[in-house]
């Protein structure tokens, strides 16, 4: 079997090596584009004191929210956690640390982590609580703050299609944070809806080249919808 065959057959293999105290970077926005079953596996493993980097933290009984319920998360680095009551409760009870990070800064910090850029300047957050303790520097007469890269021991991402090389493509807005998360993990695990033969994905349009991906597993997804908004049929 080639060193480029990254397909694993079990969730235990997919998350093998995850330990207490590690940092996990997770793709997904709201409940969209979540590595649903990898999260369930983390719960099954029961590892504790995790730092989880993800734009949101799921809802009480789905997505990353289930790891809050089991108190496996020590710290969240997120931009928005408003949809999760457990989160709010643990935060107010001091059982959980949270580092609120602007969404675009969070995305860029993950990208920077994967790209070997240790820090970058952004105007986002200048003059707000986000800028506290951060270097402020002027470029062309405007203030910017220094933000540092984020990397993780593991990254878990969810893709639409993937091949055994780890090449991935995402579907619609389920792309979101997944491509950056994929680059920022020491071990990156991708859960895909469909495992395809090498060559099936058009090489011009690969979102995540296989070099970033260590393990691939095909999953079954619930794809829960958070806010079902419709236009009435005429």
């Amino acid at each position: 079997m080639s060193g480029f065959n990254k397909v694993v057959d079990s969730y235990a293999d997919a998350m093998h090596g995850l330990q207490d105290g590690m940092t996990v970077i997770a793709g997904g926005f709201g409940l969209c584009g979540n590595a649903e079953n990898l999260i369930v596996e983390i719960k099954r493993l029961g590892v504790k004191d995790l730092t989880v980097v993800s734009n949101n933290c799921g809802v009480t009984d789905f997505g990353l929210g289930i790891l809050l319920e089991s108190k496996q998360i020590k710290k969240m680095i997120s931009s928005y956690v408003g949809e999760n009551q457990t989160f709010m409760d643990q935060l107010l009870a001091d059982e959980l640390e949270v580092d609120l990070t602007p969404q675009g800064t969070l995305a860029e910090k993950m990208r920077a982590g994967g790209a070997g850029i240790p820090g970058f300047y952004t105007a986002t957050g200048v003059g707000t609580e986000v800028s506290k303790g951060k270097e402020v520097r002027q470029f062309n007469g405007r203030d910017y703050i220094l933000e540092e890269a984020i990397t993780g021991d593991f990254a878990i991402v969810k893709a639409w299609k993937g091949d055994h090389y780890g090449n991935l493509v995402y579907r619609q807005t389920a792309q979101n944070f997944n491509p950056m998360a994929a680059t920022a993990g020491k071990i990156t695990v991708a859960e895909v809806e469909e495992l395809v033969e090498p060559g099936e994905l058009d090489p011009n349009f690969i979102h995540t080249p296989g070099i970033y991906v260590d393990r691939v597993i095909q999953g079954e997804f619930e794809k829960r919808i958070e806010f079902r908004t419709v236009t009435e049929e005429a």
Binding site: L31, A123, T128, T173
Partner: protein, 218 residues
């Protein structure tokens, strides 16, 4: 009469220009897309990674992979594109969005905005709001002029944690359309039937009132 949510959206929509790329925040801003003037085409940017957002889907079109920044199911129009959140905020941070419309708790005469946190009460996070206000040149804030208890949201100095500093130049409230310039609020227009005095009374920050303040034309 104070403007309704729909009227606020209608007034904002008058600021749209043909070919504008627009980011609409959650709530009233979202409604703006219902009032795009005849003969004008705009493209809506949703910061989770969509340019060319369409209306809510028909029941039969609902797709869990196609949501907006408010996590609502939406559609994509012809000519749309999907991209990562890093690429989406590159677009926003790089100043490529022509108009950003968002809500707020407070705005002050220095152009500061507070919109994401009420200490001890509401700790939801800023989402993309800090990036949006820092990245955009052209922002319209929409909000009610005062709280339910009659406290002005247009202040000499924001009291809540800031979303952005010195970045807001235009505010549309249910009572008035206001420009922020030189450390003062400048009254541009008033809601139909609302007097300058009413606006003055509910504006805590310094308000400059010109001789003639036209009513909004909705």
């Amino acid at each position: 009469m104070a403007l309704s949510r729909e009227q606020l959206a209608m007034r904002v929509a008058q600021e749209l220009k043909d070919g504008y790329y627009v980011n609409l925040g959650i709530g009233i801003p979202t409604l703006v897309s219902n009032y795009v003037p005849e003969g004008i085409e705009v493209m809506l940017q949703s910061e989770n990674g969509l340019l060319g957002m369409g209306p809510f889907p028909l029941e039969s079109e609902i797709d869990a992979d196609l949501i907006n920044a408010g996590k609502q199911t939406v559609t994509a129009i012809k000519g749309a594109s999907f991209f990562s959140s890093a690429d989406s905020f590159a677009m926003i941070r790089g100043g490529h969005v022509d108009l950003t419309v968002l809500g707020a708790f407070e705005v002050d005469v220095h152009g500061n905005i507070a919109s994401y946190m009420i200490p001890g009460k509401l700790i939801k996070g800023m989402g993309g709001a800090m990036d949006l206000v820092a990245g955009a040149d052209n922002i319209i804030v929409t909000m009610t002029h005062a709280s339910k208890h009659g406290e002005s949201k247009l202040l000499p100095q924001c009291t809540l944690p800031l979303t952005g500093a010195a970045c807001i130049k235009r505010v549309l409230t249910d009572l008035a359309f206001i420009e922020i310039k030189d450390g003062k609020f400048h009254l541009l227009e008033r809601a139909p039937g609302v007097s300058v005095e009413e606006i003055q009374k509910l504006t805590a920050g310094e308000l400059v009132v010109p001789d003639n303040v036209p009513e909004m034309d909705l």
